[in-house]
Amino acid sequence: MKPRSDDWRPSAGLDVLALRAALLGRLRGWFADHGVMEVETPALSAAAVTDPHIHSLETCLDRRPMYLQTSPEFFMKRLLAAGSGDIYQVCRVFRDGEQGRRHNPEFTMVEWYRRDLDVHSMMDEIESLLAVLGAGRRQPRPAERITYRDLCMEFTGIDPFVDGTAAIVARLNKAAVAVPDGLSADRDALLDLLLATVVEPAMPAEVPVFVFDFPASQAALARIRDGDPPVAERFELFLGGMELANGFHELRDVAEQAGRFERDLQRRREAGLKQPPVDHRLLAALDAGLPECAGVALGFDRLVMWLAGCDHIADVLSFDAGRA
């Protein structure tokens, strides 16, 4: 029987696979030098993430629903609460409904947690890690740091904390970005669209840009700092016009975390989305006490894309979703 096509072959070139291997070796060496222990946590969990914008893949184990992890965060925080000390993990994570030039439904995350570091020290650390990974290949320039507000103002003229939805829509139209029907009232979604279509593509190709002090409404699991306006202690790293990493000064307050889970579920209800089981074990771990720490999740494949000069994630994956 004649084979249908050539899609048995890997989607990445063998040279890129060799690059991945070399980078993983350097990564592990760097963490060892910095006293960060490697851990492995389950890919399957009885609980799932509540964020309305992240969709977990569901499977069945002994007829019980189980969810593929979208991030190892919850398990790693349980380890931290148990006294693990600084830890890191390199693992596959899975997200439904995310596929494109920079998205594959499963991808490799490098995630780590450091006690007693704040977001700014974390950014310093990531910079030094990038220099080690890029050495001899593609060295990033010295990083820039900018607040979410200043970033928006600089690239779009919009003040994300003050300007109303009408102003954001007008700015999007000016950039010839069609605004979906029904979105004109959703401020956060409009800001997301602005960031993805106007700001990200304009970011410099060779300069890492750390964006910090996110709007409180986009805090995820970061703690919120009081102020006018209150901001989330969250940062993102952009390189080559791509979001590479997401970091937090981790939220330790169990009541606040439980409250956020509830609000997420409410937003899911309103959007007609599934109600995933809340991770009660994470809440129990927070109750027992999470140490003061900052955490980072880095998209390893996108980093490889930047280092290898590829513009499609399939070019850095052994087999992208289409060939799996």
């Binding site: 997301d192 960031l195 993805a196």
Partner: protein, 189 residues
């Protein structure tokens, strides 16, 4: 009618936008950090031919358009409609002048064309890339004029007028590229 979610978007997908049949030309998935994901799509309206950009929230759905491209044989024209037949099933379809459009000047009986059906009605007709047609009217060429690069107009059996080299004679068969409307070569019997 069936519907598609943005997850299923890809080039070539036929969807209904404001009741018009459209085809997706380009589809880009964008998602900032942990925020709302979007699909930025370039769409061609199959009725008007216009191309527009649209943004969809990821997870939204659109109605599928019952649009299919089928190979059909051209049978004849009755003056008002152009009649085609699907070879295997003998199913016949009548396309009006609007649907046939530019293809009208290349239609030769028995030739296979690609007909786009919308709700089972011909929406547009695509002639084959190359057709072989007889020249019914053209000025005589001067003997030995193969060296000169000159061209002259020639009317073909379908009514189409193409420019042909001076040495090509009335009554000869010529091969024409329907996409450019240009003479390609003479057809030897």
């Amino acid at each position: 009618m069936a519907s598609y979610s943005t997850n299923e978007f890809r080039s070539g997908l036929k969807i209904l936008i404001d009741k018009d049949p459209c085809v997706i030309v380009e589809n880009e998935f964008v998602k900032p950090g942990k925020g709302q994901a979007f699909n930025r799509v370039r769409i061609r309206n199959l009725k008007t031919g216009r191309v527009v950009d649209k943004t969809f929230k990821s997870g939204d759905s659109v109605e599928a358009a019952d649009v299919m491209d089928t190979d059909m044989q051209y049978l004849y024209s009755d003056g008002e409609f152009y009649h085609f037949m699907v070879p295997d099933t003998y199913e016949q379809h009548a396309a009006d002048a609007v649907a046939v459009g530019e293809a009208r000047q290349w239609l030769k009986e028995q030739d296979t064309c690609q007909v786009t059906l919308w709700n089972n009605t011909p929406l547009s007709v695509n002639p084959p890339n190359f057709v072989e047609l007889k020249i019914v009217e053209t000025d005589p060429g001067v003997r030995g004029d193969t060296a000169q690069g000159g061209v002259k107009p020639a009317k073909l059996e379908t009514g189409a007028v193409v420019r042909v080299p001076l040495f090509v004679e009335e009554g000869e068969m010529v091969r024409v590229d329907t996409r450019s409307g240009e003479y390609v070569s003479r057809v030897k019997d």
